[in-house]
């Protein structure tokens, strides 16, 4: 019998694959980027617009939706699909990343030397124990508890198509011993999540395990094997992926090399353009990241940029008089309508919502075209060529 994951093409001599994840709400064509709908909306956009850009799936946030408006309320509306009006596939993260970010700060914060974002900073972990995590809500200071079973229960009520197990998101700054013990706990929590789901979870919902193990090769390999040996139907790669991009690629490389081919692989929280290209080459099927949407709200537009950061910062003075579009020939709604960098710069500096929306549309359109180009290159046998072209600044 055909399972929910079907590989349709493989890169000759490589690890990349094109595939389809079949869910109760439709198919997800991979490799694919998954836009964030953290609080039951892709910020500034309507569901029809997100679908119109070519996206099959969005990611809802278990932690945020648990605190507000609550999974019980969403359940009364018929689940997250009905609540937010997105009737295509939804993946929900487990909340582990957000809960542990309150205590540890995020990996990205650490790498980039940032303080945690405003919201997370006001929340606080009270206790991390085998049974689960006690923490204070960043919304109202109330004490909350999340166990592996709680996370699965919330995701069951949300009714997502893909659910992630609750993990301890191991931080970057801890030592090998802590990482090993934390990874083992994640494995024990995996079994509790799967057991809860087998008894109570919605039948249509596929469960992803999460590989941890920090930046230690043996721990990553062992974690990959443990997750793969479980009954989970998909495998996510989480936690600290290293201090820089070469190390991140190395950690992903160790992990996908140790994974069986038969299940879909999701790389958590990664989505810069060069990372997407490398991830596909390393055999990742799906990615999620706040980057394209968050950059869009801060006036940063994605553009081809050989050897660079793939972005234009519209708030720079040099764009004041620019009558160029964000990107020549781009078919996105912002570029196709003829909005200039000068106009978008003015709107972005004035914090006008129309700018946030237009640059968000452009960025998500850009990422989807990158992914489509990679997705189509795999059956065509041209992945190496396409990856090189994109890295050299070809317009996606």
């Amino acid at each position: 019998m055909a399972g929910p994951f079907q590989i349709t093409a493989r890169e000759a001599g490589g690890r990349a694959r094109a595939a389809v994840i079949r869910t109760a709400h439709g198919d997800v064509r991979t490799p694919a980027f998954v836009p964030l709908a953290t609080k039951a909306t892709v910020k500034t956009l309507l569901p029809a617009e997100v679908a119109g850009l070519g996206y099959d799936m969005v990611l809802g946030n278990t932690f945020h939706l648990f605190l507000d408006p609550g999974h019980e309320l969403i359940d009364r509306f018929g689940g997250l699909h009905e609540f937010m009006g997105w009737r295509a596939p939804i993946v929900t993260d487990s909340g582990g990343f957000q809960v542990f970010s309150m205590g540890h700060g995020t990996v990205a914060d650490e790498i980039k030397g940032r303080q945690p974002m405003g919201h997370e900073r006001q929340g606080r972990i009270l206790e991390i124990a085998e049974r689960g995590v006690r923490f204070r809500s960043y919304l109202d200071g109330s004490e909350q508890f999340m166990a592996p079973e709680t996370s699965m229960q919330i995701q069951a009520k949300l009714g997502s198509d893909l659910a992630l197990v609750f993990d301890e998101c191991t931080p970057f700054h801890v030592d090998r011993d802590y990482t090993a013990r934390s990874t083992e706990r994640t494995h024990r929590w995996l079994e509790r999540c799967l057991a809860w789901h087998a008894d109570h979870g919605p039948e249509h919902q596929l469960v992803y395990g999460i590989v941890q193990g920090g930046t230690y090769q043996d721990l990553r390999v062992e974690s990959a094997q443990t997750i793969a040996a479980s009954a989970c139907e998909g495998i996510a790669i989480g936690g600290s992926l290293g201090a820089d991009k070469p190390q991140m690629y190395e950690v992903v490389d160790w992990t996908t090399a140790a994974l069986p081919e038969d299940r879909p692989r999701h790389l958590l929280g990664i989505g810069e353009i060069d990372d997407l290209i490398r991830g596909v080459e390393l055999g990742i099927d799906t990615f999620d990241c706040a980057m394209p949407t968050r950059l869009g709200r801060h006036g940063m537009a994605l553009v081809p940029d050989p050897g660079g950061r793939w972005r234009v910062d519209l708030t720079k003075a040099r764009y004041r008089d620019s009558d160029e579009p964000l990107m020549d020939g781009c078919p996105c709604p912002a570029c196709a309508h003829g909005f200039t960098r000068g106009y978008l710069r003015y709107l972005a500096k004035a914090r006008e919502l129309t700018a946030m929306r237009l640059v968000t549309l452009h960025n998500l359109a850009f990422v989807e075209r990158v992914m489509r180009r990679l997705r189509e290159a795999i059956p065509a046998g041209t992945l190496a060529h396409e990856a090189r072209a994109l890295r050299d600044g070809a317009a996606p």
Copy 2:
């Protein structure tokens, strides 16, 4: 020769009229509401969406655009139409209202007992003199000067289709003597604006004079006659219209009774649903107001509401579980897609931009349907019937 304003139907025995204002960028069918594009964008929306709701014209703000990004920059982009990508008619206000609001507070603030909004409060009038007004920018504290000629020059660079003359927006709290002297200055400034425009203004641009005179009948009538006797091509009604709705309607009644029929009439800053209905009955052709868009950004949706305030405040707890749409049978993008009050309430409370956009779309769609119904009722001879039905809570 046919002028730019053609009345196509009149209410029998009343003052209402249906008409067309012909501009260089297309026709404006009246009576019409004009959405605000204060800072060169209808907040949260794209030009195609505003047009798609049925609007022929938007209003740009001379004061705000003068301070940022500056009319010279907009001129380098080919004018406001090209800059913002709205290629249909644009009216620009003169900046008088905003300049004087910094000193006086707005009429609405006074009536409602509010403090001026954050931005305006930080600006400050330094001197009001015959030659013009010196003030501090709310953006950077720089000293600025605006004379009647400055306002016309800015509007010439913006290239709007309809320009308003620079007036002293007489506040509500001043006495009859101040109002009389202020209105006389507005009349002298009118002549300076018209003289500047005759020599330097764009040929396609129609100039509206502004009737002042506060809440004094003789001053309003005299001002209406003075403006009507000038060379202006349209007539706006500005300044303090009174402390409550009955007084506002009375002031408008005095004014339109004193005006000739041959020029379009704009009622400045008024746009609540009952005011639009009454304004049309009193012979007003166009209206502008921040209300529908501003309410939308604060989670307040327009709905039929006999004898009430025509609005639903989504932030109220009673909508938490509501699976109703904003309005039954509403064809707007928010209602047609099936978004519930409960979902929109959640998004609005979370200050999600998608909510601001959806409720803005709903509100502007609602107002345009009200206006269309009134507009079509005039040639049909059913204005009294339609006005009564709308006041009684008929869905527009």
